[in-house]
């Protein structure tokens, strides 16, 4: 007797009942849609009219009609599905994000609304050799940045050796004098890094910026993968994609690496449910199996951190914090912060609690420090940098400022401590008035700006109402540093859904794609 056993004489009755059981509310529509879809399958070709952008690297096509080897199966499979089928599955994908509450909040939205981060079903595909190269380059870069932080907050040897101008480092608004001389456990400042990469017109990967404070987006990598598998199972099955699911486990291991015995008193610290990345904070707490706390849930007594629980105070020894330095501790930083925990920095300084990431990390990913990162790598690791980056003009330097102002129509100007695509001018796309405004801003506060030539970001076929069209994208791989360093295979691919746009941020009309790193086919 196994699964199919039933009580004597009941089999016939049950089957009959099942046949007449009416569909539940809401399911009828679905049934109608499904049957309608089968009838109306049109096999209009999908990629035939696809034209890659001029002077831009295309992730799928070497030229019109010529598919790159790593994308060939995807293209072939999608052709086989047909447009209507793809549209139908995109609706399913959208619904599953919405029903799962996989959303982000938009601050400018007065209703405090939650939105689904638009998901594009055409995956970005990275071949194994390419990924091995990136993996090495990312580890090298993050290692050097961590050494840099360790040095800046102790002896400042690199400044004495004049490899990086002291004025730029110590004058940075995100340099935290308050933690000068404090060495975090294991000397680890960077537990989690998100390094933004772009590809230029030749397909060369270049680092666009570093994020070593509170990089976000990893939950979308994991959720995109789940939805991709759910909606395009056979397409997924035809590839050997390196899994991403171990990230939360790796994160937990990294964050508790400085605690003897691994540590069980880990919490994720969130600014709260109104934060745009709240979904991610909750997601990571869930997958790491730890509590998600707000500042008001923690208290510092005698330089030790405790959580307020239903059974009294419980000690906390490591905090994966998703709150910026500014708001972390109202005693030390912003006094008006309601999000932080008074006394937290002192507990950290005493070595009583691990903060991941460390305090003051901003000085390593300041956009004004970025031009010096290749030198930083050479200085600490005695190696040549593996990854290229984008040439950068530092407006604080007179000659470079002059160059920026004179060539503003060719450059991208960025405020050094803004993120999310805010405080930025894309010169070639801007009008006269916008350019003039930025010239004024740069002259008024040169330390606050850098300029870079516009990189023709690579493009990838992306689904639009009229079928696939080239849209520009970037890539944010996530690097974890604990007892060893690990790079999440792939990362978050963000795509500018607006035609011709170079801005991929979710707050400004960006979407995302699943990112596939292919496994070496076994020979």
């Amino acid at each position: 007797m196994g699964w199919c056993s039933v009580r004597r004489g009941e089999l016939a009755q049950r089957t009959a009942m099942a046949l007449v059981t009416p569909l539940r509310v809401g399911h009828e529509d679905m049934a109608k849609k499904l049957s309608a879809k089968k009838v109306a399958r049109v096999s209009e070709p999908i990629f035939t009219g696809y034209k890659p952008l001029v002077a831009t690297y295309d992730e799928y096509f070497a030229e019109a009609g010529k598919v790159r080897p790593q994308a060939s199966t995807v293209v072939q499979h999608l052709e086989g599905l047909g447009r209507d089928e793809i549209r139908g599955r995109m609706r399913v994908a959208h619904a599953s994000f919405l029903e799962g509450g996989i959303t982000f909040s938009v601050y400018s939205d007065a209703r405090g609304g939650e939105r689904v981060f638009p998901f594009d079903p055409l995956p970005r595909v990275i071949d194994p050799a390419e990924w091995r190269f990136l993996d090495r380059g990312l580890k090298q870069r993050v290692e050097a940045l961590n050494s840099f932080l360790g040095d800046i907050y102790s002896k400042q040897q690199i400044l004495r050796d004049k490899k990086v101008p002291a004025a730029i480092v110590l004058g940075s608004p995100v340099y935290r004098r308050e933690v000068q001389g404090i060495r975090p456990r294991n000397g680890n400042y960077i537990y989690v890094a998100g390094i933004d990469l772009v590809r230029d017109q030749h397909g060369t990967y270049r680092v666009l910026e570093d994020n070593v404070r509170v990089p976000s987006g990893v939950s979308y990598v994991l959720e995109n993968r789940i939805v991709m598998k759910k909606t395009f199972p056979r397409l997924f099955d035809r590839h050997n994609v390196v899994p991403v699911e171990e990230y939360p486990n790796r994160l937990r291991r990294a964050v508790t690496s400085a605690i003897a015995g691994g540590g069980t008193n880990l919490v994720v610290l969130t600014p709260g449910v109104f934060n745009s990345a709240y979904f991610e904070h909750s997601f990571l707490a869930r997958r790491m199996g730890c509590d998600l706390v707000e500042g008001r849930d923690l208290v510092v007594i005698k330089k030790r951190v405790y959580a307020k629980t239903t059974r009294g105070l419980q000690p906390v020894d490591s905090i994966y914090r998703r709150i910026d330095d500014d708001f972390l501790d109202p005693q030390l930083f912003r006094k008006d912060s309601m999000l932080g925990v008074p006394g937290l920095v002192e507990a950290y300084a005493r070595g009583n609690v691990v903060l991941a990431n460390g305090i003051g990390n901003g000085v390593a990913d300041d956009k004004a420090i970025y031009p010096f990162v290749p030198d930083i790598i050479r200085y600490y690791l005695n190696e040549e940098p593996i990854l290229e980056q984008v040439p950068t003009y530092i407006c604080e330097r007179k000659a470079e400022r002059k160059h920026t102002v004179e060539n503003i129509d060719k450059l991208v100007v960025k405020a050094v401590n803004e993120a999310g695509g805010y405080g930025m001018l894309v010169g070639p796309k801007a009008n006269k008035q916008q350019r003039a405004e930025f010239v004024r801003k740069v002259n008024a506060n040169p330390r606050n700006y850098i300029a870079q030539p516009l990189v023709e970001l690579s493009a990838c076929p992306t689904w639009t109402p009229r079928g696939p069209a080239p849209r520009r994208l970037d890539l944010r791989p996530f690097v974890l540093r604990g007892n060893d360093t690990w790079v999440l295979p792939g990362g978050l691919t963000r795509v500018a859904l607006v035609r011709g746009s170079y801005v991929v941020n979710s707050s400004q009309g960006g979407g995302s794609k699943d990112t596939w790193v292919l496994e070496n086919t076994k020979s």
Binding site: G26, E99, R183, D291, L292, R296, T310, L313, G343, A349
Partner: protein, 336 residues
């Protein structure tokens, strides 16, 4: 468990219990209105009184249409200005769930999130307009589905226990409120022979508590106000009786109580035990003499007292923290 999280779990359950109860009451009342065709008997207004929303309702409507079915249903279902409406309770339940998404299971979250999306969609509104029964039934079914998922998929630890504590306490008060509908509709209940419309009202009340068939099994056919009240107050084997709900509350309160150490914060346990003891000591005769309405009000108020005691004991900061003052910032102590 983090106190704030426990509080959210507790409230999430209370809000959902309200949604379920209200959906059931409205479902039954749509039908009841068809059954009892007597002029001069208010049939919708008593529901507003029973849920204690008289003031909000008066602010929104005129006296002339206060017994109008559509107005009352619109108010109890959709009015977001009114904190006791289904819409408000669903919003709050979902917001609490979102805040503690790491504590509840994926299935629970998807059920609740899906329910709110549906409720706010054109599809939900359409069903409300066309098939009122089905609308209420779907709401109720989804609430029960959520409870089922809680039982089947959630870690049966503190979070679950606080949810069940919230459900039980809310339910005890709601049953008392439903019983009190009779008073608001037809006046006090005596022990004399009742009018047919009173009998019909008692039936509607039983149905509002999903109790009609269990009742007849126990009462063996007899139907009177006193018996109905006795059943809904004291029937230990019926899930929607006050005593049973309080039993459950005691069970889950016991499970969340700190073990091992000498317990100092026991206000909630004391308050709940007191309520149970007093209720147990009360005979049905005595209650009818005192007035059923009065007793029900006392139950509602006592349950609220237990809820605030739970808040005191578990959700507010522990006393060590309240005593502790963080020293003003002087100088950062450095590690060697």
């Amino acid at each position: 468990m983090i106190s704030r999280v426990a509080e959210s779990a507790f409230w999430l359950a209370r809000y959902l219990e309200r949604v379920e109860d209200l959906a059931r009451i409205l479902y039954v009342n749509v039908n009841f209105v068809l059954d009892v065709n007597l002029d001069g008997v208010p049939r919708w207004w008593p529901l507003v009184l029973a849920v204690g929303a008289e003031k909000e309702f008066r602010a929104n409507t005129t006296r002339a249409n206060r017994d109008d079915g559509e107005t009352v249903q619109q108010f109890l279902c959709w009015d977001r200005e009114h904190p006791g409406s289904i819409a408000s309770s669903l919003d709050r339940a979902r917001e609490n769930a979102r805040t503690i998404r790491e504590t509840i299971s994926l299935e629970m979250w998807e059920t609740l999130n899906g329910l709110l999306l549906w409720f706010n969609s054109a599809e939900g509104r359409r069903l409300y307009q066309r098939e009122r029964y089905e609308f209420y039934q779907y709401l109720r079914d989804q609430c029960v589905l959520f409870q089922g998922f809680a039982l089947e998929t959630m870690l049966q630890s503190e979070g679950y226990h606080f949810m069940r504590l919230g459900t039980s306490l809310e339910r005890a008060a709601q049953i008392a409120r439903i019983l009190d509908v009779k008073y608001h509709a037809l006046g006090p209940t005596g022990r004399s022979i009742e009018w047919p419309r009173e009998i019909a009202q008692w039936q509607a009340i039983l149905r509002s508590c999903s109790a009609i068939e269990p009742y007849f099994k126990v009462a063996q056919g007899e139907l009177s106000g006193q018996r109905v009240a006795e059943f809904l107050l004291f029937e230990k084997e019926f899930p929607h009786s006050v005593t049973r709900a309080l039993d459950q509350a005691q069970k889950f309160l016991n499970l969340v109580r700190p073990r091992g150490k000498a317990v100092k914060n026991e206000r909630s346990v004391t308050a709940l035990n007191d309520l149970r003891d007093q209720l147990d000591a009360m005979s049905m005769d005595e209650m009818m003499r005192r007035g059923l309405h009065k007793t029900l009000l006392w139950i509602i108020a006592s349950v609220e007292d237990v809820c605030s005691a739970v808040q005191q004991d578990y959700f507010l900061a522990p006393p060590q923290v309240r005593r502790h003052r963080t020293a003003p910032w002087r100088k950062l102590t450095r590690t060697a």
